[in-house]
Subunit: 252 residues, 2 copies
């Protein structure tokens, strides 16, 4: 038996999310069907974690065990031949049998992309969240540092989530401008990047909403620190929409 | 009567092209319907030129005349409020009554984007053309210089096009790498940019196909020059697919 690790990139716009659900098409489901076609065997794909409907990935990781003799690096090409255009396996490799995409993960990096211009983008509307009011990137970057370190992120979690512990560690937080390759404008695209041990449900989207509110002077850094210490959801910012969110990397 | 000029950005993936057609939804048609809603008047939108199904625009230009008293810069915001996400008016301004988006144009810039990696992009599949074999960007840029100047572009036009003259002038031709903002990889995205007095049907896509074949050593620079002088379509490269093509700017 071999254990195959896949690194997967996808545009989540047309899917109900990573995990197979009763309604809508899930990315996991599409991949499993294609892998079964390629290997001629029933497979069960273990992902590093769910992504919600409309959320994207650059480096989602999933693994499956198989008896297939296909060379490990060929899996990506063979699977891609059958996948729809908005899902791509960018790397495939054989890993130890005890590797588990979720339980072996040491951390994750998420990115949240904002289209910051008075006018919407027609080209990147599914891949960015449109904020029409000018945001101060330096101010957001500075406020983002409040999240670095080990904290109880109760205030930054969707209400109703049941989980053992709400303590997570953020290793780094960055807010920076990126260039839109389709327009060359500088300053219209902003990226929030968070790397941490793990993330609670909606945590990145709530942190992004909080940083945006800091940039708009609706919230102060002191209030962010207070929200972290008090743990009340109402003290943190709004949950940003899914289209700006990317699972960027899973660290092992 | 006022003449309003719009600069329009769109992802052409889900449309039959710019121009209204019997089958499929056209970008022109969607815009006209929204402008009629905003101005409460019947309008006829003049575009700078057609774009085919699946072709995108960063700076398509179109104009319409109206009696509406809406301030010119407000049109973009009012129209955007009703447009679907994949079309956006990025600028609106009042221009002289004799301005015509097509006939007043002095030139155009087109861009063709290639995703140059063994694996497809799951994120940018509708906005780039996937070429899995490594391309030499410098070689493509050098070969692109053959097109600069005034030439008869008969060999670089879709067969069957009826047109008065096939002579066009290319002002500049560049091939360069761009950074993918969603992945930060350098070298996976290549852009071919052509600025000229005007372009024949499929001309950019055939030039892009020819440059790609030069990069793959299937065609030499000498053969490119020969194709230009002989004017035979069979002597030029293949027509690249629409998804990599962007109408980048219309020059007035």
């Amino acid at each position: 038996m071999r254990n195959i690790k896949l690194v997967i990139e996808y545009d989540g716009t047309n899917y109900c999310g990573w995990q197979t659900q009763p309604n809508g098409i899930a990315i996991q489901e599409v991949l499993e069907q294609v892998i079964e076609k390629v290997t001629q065997q029933k497979v069960s794909l273990n992902g590093s974690g769910r992504t919600d409907s409309g959320v994207h990935a650059i480096g989602q990781v999933a693994s499956f065990t198989t008896n297939s003799s296909i060379p490990s690096e060929i899996f990506s090409l063979a699977i891609n031949a059958f996948l729809p255009n908005d899902i791509s396996v960018v790397r495939s490799e054989e890993v130890a049998l005890d590797f588990h995409a979720r339980f072996s993960a040491k951390g994750k990096t998420y990115r949240y992309y904002i289209w910051n211009d008075k006018r919407r983008s027609g080209i990147l509307s599914n891949l960015t969240c449109h904020i029409p009011v000018a945001l101060d990137v330096d101010k957001m970057h500075q406020a983002a540092q409040c999240f670095v370190g080990q904290h109880d992120f109760s205030a930054f979690m969707a209400q109703g989530s049941s989980i053992k512990t709400t303590v997570r560690e953020i290793y780094s937080a960055k807010v920076f401008q990126v260039t839109n390759p389709f327009g060359d404008e500088i300053g219209k695209m902003i990226c929030i990047e968070l790397t941490g041990s793990g993330f609670l449900y909606n945590m990145v989207r709530i942190i992004a909403g909080t940083l945006m509110e800091v940039a708009l002077c609706k919230r102060s850094e002191v209030q962010v620190i207070e929200a972290l210490s008090k743990g009340e959801r109402t003290m943190a910012g709004q949950t940003m929409p899914p289209e700006g969110l990317f699972l960027y990397e899973v660290i092992y």
